[in-house]
Amino acid sequence: MAFFLETLLGGLMSGMLYSLVALGFVLIFKASGVFNFAQGAMVLFAALAMARFSEWIPDWLGMENLFVANLLAFAVAVVVMFVVAWLIERLALRYLVNQEGATLLMATLGIAYVLDGIGQTIFGSDIYKIDVGMPKDPVMMLESVFEGGILINKEDFIAALIAALLVISLSIFFQKTATGRALRAVADDHQAAQSIGIPLDRIWVIVWCVAGITALVAGIIWGSKLGVQFSLSTIALRALPVVILGGLTSVPGAIIGGLIIGVGEKLSEVYLGPYVGGGIEIWFAYMLALVFLLFRPQGLFGEKIIDRV
């Protein structure tokens, strides 16, 4: 039982990170109808920027304080992601408005390649580490309930907490601010929003900026856990089933979908994996998403897609 709970919690933690990446997908999809395959590349780009600036800034400024260096690097990385968002909108997205979904999807694949290439050219292609001072030691919990308690990684716990915070603040941003309202208006109907004077291109830049920040947070968390390396770029592919499950247009869907996939992967790997040779978590999430696609294409919380003749 304790082992089951441990697996479950581990799944929830990694699920929270999937949610974070999935959130980036949902934000952009809601506001522009673009399914952004480049989200993974953005995570890598942001993580690379963060890792490298936190190395370079102390050198440039000749200071030692890790905290300040990280803070500065974070600020610079945010600016970098804003520039990236602006460039994507300026150079690609605005010419692709109203294209078919499949075309947009392929275009973002192209953008992902460009980002991967540029990121590695500027920041290098080795493995870097991000050290934001997250505690690495595991803690025991619920010792009174189970014999031996259950083991939890503190780092995972903090990461999940940060992710949850980000999700909450984004929800507030969407619900309460004027920009948030404009964003939702654009999501509902591009043309109607435009006709009441909401500047579409500015909104898109904002959305991509927000997606950039979620990418940065996801990048920092994953990066400090696993090191910043090219494989970060592929977590977009891991998070893709999450949005299918949760529904492309739903923020709560992204979160719950992420948790389901995280838990499902871990449980299936532990309890099913040994019978089939292991390594199934790579496709398990996809199969789960596929089943969903066939029976409930709009996902758990997405809006129903209706075709009209």
Partner: protein
């Protein structure tokens, strides 16, 4: 000046329905094919065969398969690499498990197995499209990646899925030198390209395109979406399966599942976008582009770098390559969704009317 249709009148529908209705085009194609079979082997060295021509031919075949599905039937796939893998490993199993199985038969059977797998994983296309279909095909990609890595039976208990095939032979002709490999691949490609052209100019091709352009209207005139989409998946996967088997048997000789990973799938999709969706020639343009660009950059960039006194590392070259691919994809999707093939066709159209543009 010689590209004129004046005085050429077609007196039967038969003449009008030829694969290449303009005689100049027809002769040009014959000339290119003849040159490829006879001229190229006389002119080209071994390196060219190994590094450029054989990969180009096999990837063209694969791109043709992707183009049938994506360009003609309008169904996106991110699992083309998986179809190649199924073809390659199925052909491998036919070859080693069945006594006296001829290599060519094994390759074709591999293609058929890939077609069957393609139908299974293409089935979601009946319910979903666009992004959702992309996810379904990705599921196929990851599933097969895993299967060939972990299920030992598929790879005859080879560790980490790596298998190898000795030189194959065809009716007593052992295909061992690069020239042999080139001619064998070329022969298969020509046959398959002709079959693709035939399918696409006939009823089957029209059904696929109808589904791509307007599926509701297609149903109303009696085209069954299920039949059309699944045949497109089957034919496309068959082509990819044969290409995969060739890639393993002829180009690599020994391979592991990574040869057909998601990167391969994306590469094939990009070939079709850059080359030209919905044009057979686009498959060739795309494959040529993807094979030649890295080699070109590898040669050119260090030269350009040395002009400015910079040292260009191989890592940088590969990054530049990726950037160029990415930007070209975005560029073509924005400016010319029908790729190089359309640019070529437009040029030809101008030439037909030249010097009177109207």
């Amino acid at each position: 000046m010689f590209y004129r249709e004046n005085g050429q009148f077609k007196t039967s529908y038969k003449a009008d329905q030829q694969a290449f209705a303009i005689p100049q085009d027809r002769w040009a194609i014959y000339a290119i094919v003849a040159f490829a079979f006879i001229g190229v082997p006389l002119l080209v060295d071994e390196y060219m065969f190994r590094a450029i021509l054989v990969p180009f031919l096999i990837l063209s075949l694969a791109a043709l398969g992707v183009n049938i599905l994506v360009g003609y039937c309008g169904q996106i796939t991110l699992g083309a690499g998986a179809s190649m893998a199924v073809g390659a490993y199925a052909a491998y199993n036919f070859l080693i498990r069945v006594d006296g199985m001829p290599a060519l038969a094994a390759i074709l059977l591999g293609g058929l197995v890939a077609a069957a797998a393609g139908i299974v994983f293409g089935a979601p296309s009946l319910r979903v499209r666009g992004l959702y279909l992309a996810v379904a095909t990705l599921a196929a990609q990851f599933f097969w990646d895993w299967a060939f890595l972990r299920i030992k039976w598929f790879t005859n208990n080879a560790s980490s899925g790596s298998v190898s095939v000795a030189d194959i032979s065809l009716f007593g002709w052992t295909i061992s030198t690069p020239t042999d490999k080139y001619l064998f691949s070329l022969g298969i490609l020509v046959v398959f390209a002709v079959m693709a052209k035939n399918l696409l100019r006939g009823n089957m091709g029209r059904q696929w395109m109808a589904i791509r352009d307007m599926d509701v209207a297609a149903t109303v005139i009696g085209i069954r979406p299920m039949y059309s989409k699944l045949t497109a998946f089957a034919v496309s996967s068959f082509y990819l399966g044969v290409a995969g088997a060739l890639w393993g048997f002829v180009n690599l000789g020994s391979w592991e599942p990574a040869a057909f990973s998601i990167d391969r799938s994306l590469q094939l999709l990009f070939m079709v976008i850059i080359g030209g969706m919905g044009a057979i020639s686009g498959s060739f343009f795309g494959a040529a582009f993807i094979v030649i660009l890295p080699i070109f950059l590898n040669q050119m960039l260090p030269l350009v770098g040395s002009l400015f006194g910079l040292e260009v590392s191989t890592a940088l070259v590969s990054h530049v390559e990726v950037i160029i691919f990415g930007s070209l994809i975005v560029f073509f999707l924005i400016v010319e969704p029908h790729g190089i093939a359309r640019l070529w066709a437009t040029g030809r159209e101008k030439l037909r009317l030249w010097p009177f543009p109207h």
